[in-house]
Symmetry: C2
Subunit: 196 residues, 2 copies
DNA sequence: CAGGTCTTATGATTCAGATCATACAGAACG
DNA sequence: CGTTCTGTATGATCTGAATCATAAGACCTG
């Protein structure tokens, strides 16, 4: 989102995380701006029973964790590396300097927050009212569109468990639902991969 | 959020809406910044069966509908006046001039978006995993805290149907859940009013 | 390449929130 | 102030996703 050249101008530095390593913990105070250089991360909240909800996934070039930075509240979720991941890290003060100096980047940040609000509005309504097939189908299409996939078959890059954690359902229900989507011709399953 | 003096400097004007009148429709293009002077509005999404989900409620002094303005996507929800309402309306171009000129107001706008993200993260997790009692109880406390209520009993200013529309449940379930909260001493019911 | 781990798949059972129907109470309007 | 409308309440029934158990397949690691 923010070009590397500018990140370096404001003294951002790079950090690497192995797969499944925690980047920050729910409840911690935000001290840095984070942007992925490579890999992917997921933002997790947990229910009292320990069930995980995936609030969102971010990929290379995308930022994450800004709301607690801008609003001074603790992290509402925990961030984990989904694969080996490299992240740009920028101190809070420098970050505010950067967006004060660059109105266009500030606007892009706004747009990132707005797209997240848009996604959450949609997934909220879906979880509250849609049947499992529509919930899963909507998410699959969302992932396809977000990846910028153009031609040929798109292989959904998530496990059934991860899909379940994003639509608030049990993995068994997602497995049966994906089967139904196959039966109705909406997706194809090849070696357990979901293709659209 | 934005002081009236500044709104006027950028040629904002006032518009009134009667209770239940629509302010903008889902799918429309955003052309103005909106801020409430008096009254309240609710943002609604609907399922295919017409069930309403209340994405959020805004009160006097608060803004609404910014994401489509900043991101150039259509309104994802429809806004209605919940009571007779007066709104400041500012043309898009003037709005961008305003936030470019006032970094502090731009930051406040960011914080508004961040608080909405925070709420949606929480309600998402709740709807996905919490039982009805915890869902309703969380919402009641959220409304109390958001209203800035200090001493004495807080009367929840929403109908059971509106609560149901915010937590994605049926009104019958909310009615029975509120009864359970009374039975466990968490709330008091006086003339059908919910007091905490 | 084999063994172990994780993911996917399937079947049977349960139960809580949705659904439907009906009645009561408070608010609004003329 | 009476009537109508909206909101609240209650009871009975239904159903589909969750839950639990078990097995098969793909992937990862040494």
């Amino acid at each position: 989102m923010i070009p590397e050249k500018i990140l370096k101008q404001y003294e951002a530095f790079r950090i690497s995380f192995r797969k499944d390593v925690m980047i920050f913990l729910e409840g911690e105070q935000a001290l840095h701006y984070f942007q992925l250089e490579a890999g992917s991360i997921k933002m997790i909240t947990r229910s009292d029973e320990g069930q995980e909800f995936i609030q969102g996934i971010s990929y290379a070039g995308e930022s994450f964790g800004e709301p607690p930075l801008l609003c001074n509240f603790p992290y509402p979720s925990t961030a984990y590396a989904m694969v080996d991941t490299t992240i740009w890290k920028l101190r809070k003060e420098k970050f505010f300097d950067l967006i004060k100096d660059h109105f266009e980047i500030h606007l892009k940040l706004d747009q990132v927050l707005c797209e997240r609000l848009r996604y959450k509005s949609k997934i909220l309504t879906s979880i509250a009212f849609d049947d499992p097939e529509n919930r899963v189908w909507w998410l699959i299409n969302y992932l396809k569109n977000k990846s910028g996939h153009q031609s040929g078959k798109f292989a959904v890059p998530l496990t059934r468990q991860q899909i379940a954690d994003m639509v608030g359902m049990r993995v068994e229900t997602v497995i049966r639902t994906v089967k139904k989507l196959e039966d109705s011709g909406k997706v194809r399953l090849v070696n357990h991969k979901i293709l659209v």
